[in-house]
Point group: C2
Chain length 464, copies 2
């Protein structure tokens, strides 16, 4: 990270680190567009009334005021003030409603943008960070097959990041209907509360969660235990999932004729289809994990979290779910499903734990030397001839001794130094690979760099 | 523009408009990297103390407050509050000082990011918009040749945008030393004031500027006339520039032995070199225009504005200059020179005045039809095979009647519809170009789309 990141929680990257981020963004965009997602950007700023809708982050927003308004901020009600968006899902919902007449539904979109959260920074938490999202939003209805397909698109994208050292990712899926149906079947009613407590399992453990279920959500000890038992079910096999759920229902004497059980079965069917189809396409990529709760309460169907094999302590790097009621206009609903990669956290992990790094700071493959300032124009012409053929080229900033010019190229990691023909000593155009030391005569209209040195690319330092 | 851009001054684009913006950004990045510039991003948020340094926009910043702080904002002095950056030059200066130990100087960087200005929106003014900047920053010193070269990089980049309908751009250059030296030579002392009034020439005309020079800057009528005479000099010829300036100095009896005249001659020499070298590389791309003043007072040498031929009323679309004192650390200075494209305004012009548009909404070249929901997995497999060969592919959202599936593809502008082999009717895999109507047998592992339909690209609608 840039040394002087003087504001905690607001990461900045050095050029060679930014190069890694840029390649990640390019790769994600490529995968998203290959899958037919349309790219959009929404404005960074939303009205308070949008931002303050319910959701776990509602207290973490940044509000804005113009300099002229300082001291009078409180005159304006929060709903009418402006603030920075804290995710890309709430803005998407607004964008879809506002532009429904101009969009084609189901609307498949990708979006990679910064978001802001005004929380106290903790380890690994950023207040400004990049999210990479895909969502599909329907007009009135949304086919369930998108709940199967979207996690697989994300798995495909994350697999491509393996090139930059990212370990294998596994999506853990659950379904709100399954959870809610089960909780209600055993007599619980504070569903939001139960989900909120279950979401803490990884942090505080079973015992503490059980205590909270009793003290906060009106559960008795047996009901609390049932919630923990449900959360323990995890499998990549659809038949096993059905069998385990079945045996749990028997254990807790669930009435299989009730509407609550019916709801649970709806969720179970969706979840089974997801892991069955995923297994046929990418075995092991998606598992059912019934402890996945997700904090945000706008989810109404599938929910997802994604963990890196061997780096589970990083937490979920890609989360999301289905939300049927986030975007509405009058009686019309725009149900959606989507996942979001926390890109800045992923980048930080790749840079600092994996050792991903750009092969060089500069995109340039060549630096043209300058014999003296009168000859700069000729060096510029050589650079222009190389650039016209797509070879990224820099020109020495000065006409100092050649050793000093080469040091500039070397600091930037530029592999080739071009020496223009020098009439004084009778030399022709020459190009030197300053890594291998090889120097050859070269023609500016035909020379090409060796493939390995042509482009700035990403390597894993530790694996070198 | 997206229909529901419900907040004035905060533009949002429809997917087919965003595709144009994305291609512009890709093109600029390509040109900047070909020229050896390193890409960085800085955080969107700066400390008040950075943002409130002098400059014309200092009153137009957005300050932030966390939701928890509402009502207590005034407890924190402005310098300690956070705000959104209003340009990319001030953040660059901070970034360079903070990371000077890790950067290679001269530091050549490109940066394309959103910026925010909390001003009242006027026609064509945005409060959230994208800037595309290149700058070179030196450590202690910065060779003058960058003042010649950077405007030429921008001209090259803007020429490439001709592909999207952008008219030819001309950089108008001036030099602060030339202006200041001349003003002081004729006895004026309020240089900032004079520059501020001269900057209004295009808006309010000569007569009003003359009045303001007298009433606000302590000029007499002859001095005011001299300022207007200087501002009238514009030429692409270095010799003519020298001759005209010479004759002006004679007319106003300037003492050619004074230090003020010396300063003016320094500026004149730099400006002459710029237009002479530009003429040899790109004739007509850069002209000397001595009325260019630039509002920001941190410029200390060359200043630039850029106008589109035939769309001068758009104002400058790419501006900048040399600033020697913006970034400092103790006694050390980091002089820089750079230019900034107002990308959102340019995009708005291309979309609405030129008629630039994406050939289709979706990046997908193919939509695979779905015979029935049981056959969706097979349609997904076909899509995966096409994507594996780099062909962007969507799959029909539903298994409705084929006519309805084709309409979805047609709305998105997807040119090909793929019909999977259908055992029931004994058909093989077929692909239909729904624009030409041509339908052929096709193999998912070898078929390729016609070049003209392969990629989403940009066209000029009016020219169709």
């Amino acid at each position: 990270m840039a040394k002087g990141a003087s504001l905690s929680g607001f990461p900045e990257w050095l050029p060679q680190e930014r190069a890694v981020e840029q390649k990640i963004i390019d790769t994600l965009r490529e995968v998203f567009e290959l899958n037919g997602f349309l790219g959009i950007e929404t404005r960074a700023i939303e009205q308070g009334s949008s931002l303050l809708k319910k959701g776990e982050t509602s207290k973490e927003i940044y509000l804005l005021s113009r300099l002229q308004e300082v001291g009078h901020e409180s005159d304006v009600p929060l709903e009418n003030r402006l603030g920075l968006h804290f995710d890309l899902t709430v803005p998407l919902s607004r964008y879809v409603v506002e532009n429904s007449g101009a969009l084609t539904f189901p609307f498949k979109r990708w979006q990679i943008q910064k978001v802001w959260r005004g929380e106290r920074p903790q380890e690994g938490r950023f207040r400004e960070f990049v999210q990479a999202d895909i969502d599909v939003v329907g007009n009135g209805e949304l086919p369930e097959h998108y709940e199967e397909e979207l996690p697989l698109v994300m798995v495909e994208a994350l697999e491509r990041l393996g090139e930059f050292g990212l370990p294998k990712a596994t999506v853990h899926a659950n379904n709100r209907k399954l959870s809610e149906g089960f909780y209600r079947s055993i007599g619980l009613t504070d569903i939001e509360g139960v989900l909120r407590e279950v979401d803490k399992l990884d942090k505080i453990g079973e015992q503490e969660v059980a205590k909270l279920l009793v003290s906060e959500c009106g559960a008795n000890e047996q009901q609390a235990q049932a919630c923990l038992d449900l959360a323990e079910i995890t499998t990549a096999d659809a038949d096993e999932l059905a069998a385990k759920f079945d045996s749990l229902c028997t254990k807790y004497s669930v009435d299989t004729t009730s509407e609550h059980y019916e709801l649970a079965m709806q969720g179970l069917t969706t979840l089974s289809t997801i892991i069955r189809n995923a297994a046929s396409i990418r075995p092991g990529a998606v598992v059912a994990d019934l402890k996945i709760a997700r904090g945000l309460d706008y989810y109404t169907g599938s929910v997802y979290e994604t963990f890196l094999n061997g780096a589970e302590n990083l937490g979920s790097i890609c989360s999301g779910g289905r939300y049927d009621n986030l975007a509405t206009s009058g009686k019309k609903k725009y149900p959606g499903v989507g996942l979001s990669i926390g890109l800045s956290r992923l980048l930080s992990y790749l840079l600092h734990s994996v050792g991903a790094s750009a092969t060089r700071q500069s995109p340039a493959a060549v630096m043209v030397a300058v014999w003296n300032e009168d000859a700069r124009l000729e060096s510029n012409r050589i650079a222009a001839a190389l650039r016209a053929r797509g070879i990224s080229t820099d020109v020495s900033p000065n006409s100092a001794k050649i050793g000093k010019q080469i040091r500039y190229a070397s600091h930037l990691g530029i592999p080739y130094v071009w020496f223009p023909a020098n009439a004084e000593v009778g030399s022709t155009d020459q190009v030197k690979n300053i890594i291998t030391g090889e120097q050859v005569e070269a023609d500016r209209v035909s020379w090409i760099p060796d493939t390995v040195y042509a482009q700035q690319s990403i390597i894993i330092k530790d694996a070198e």
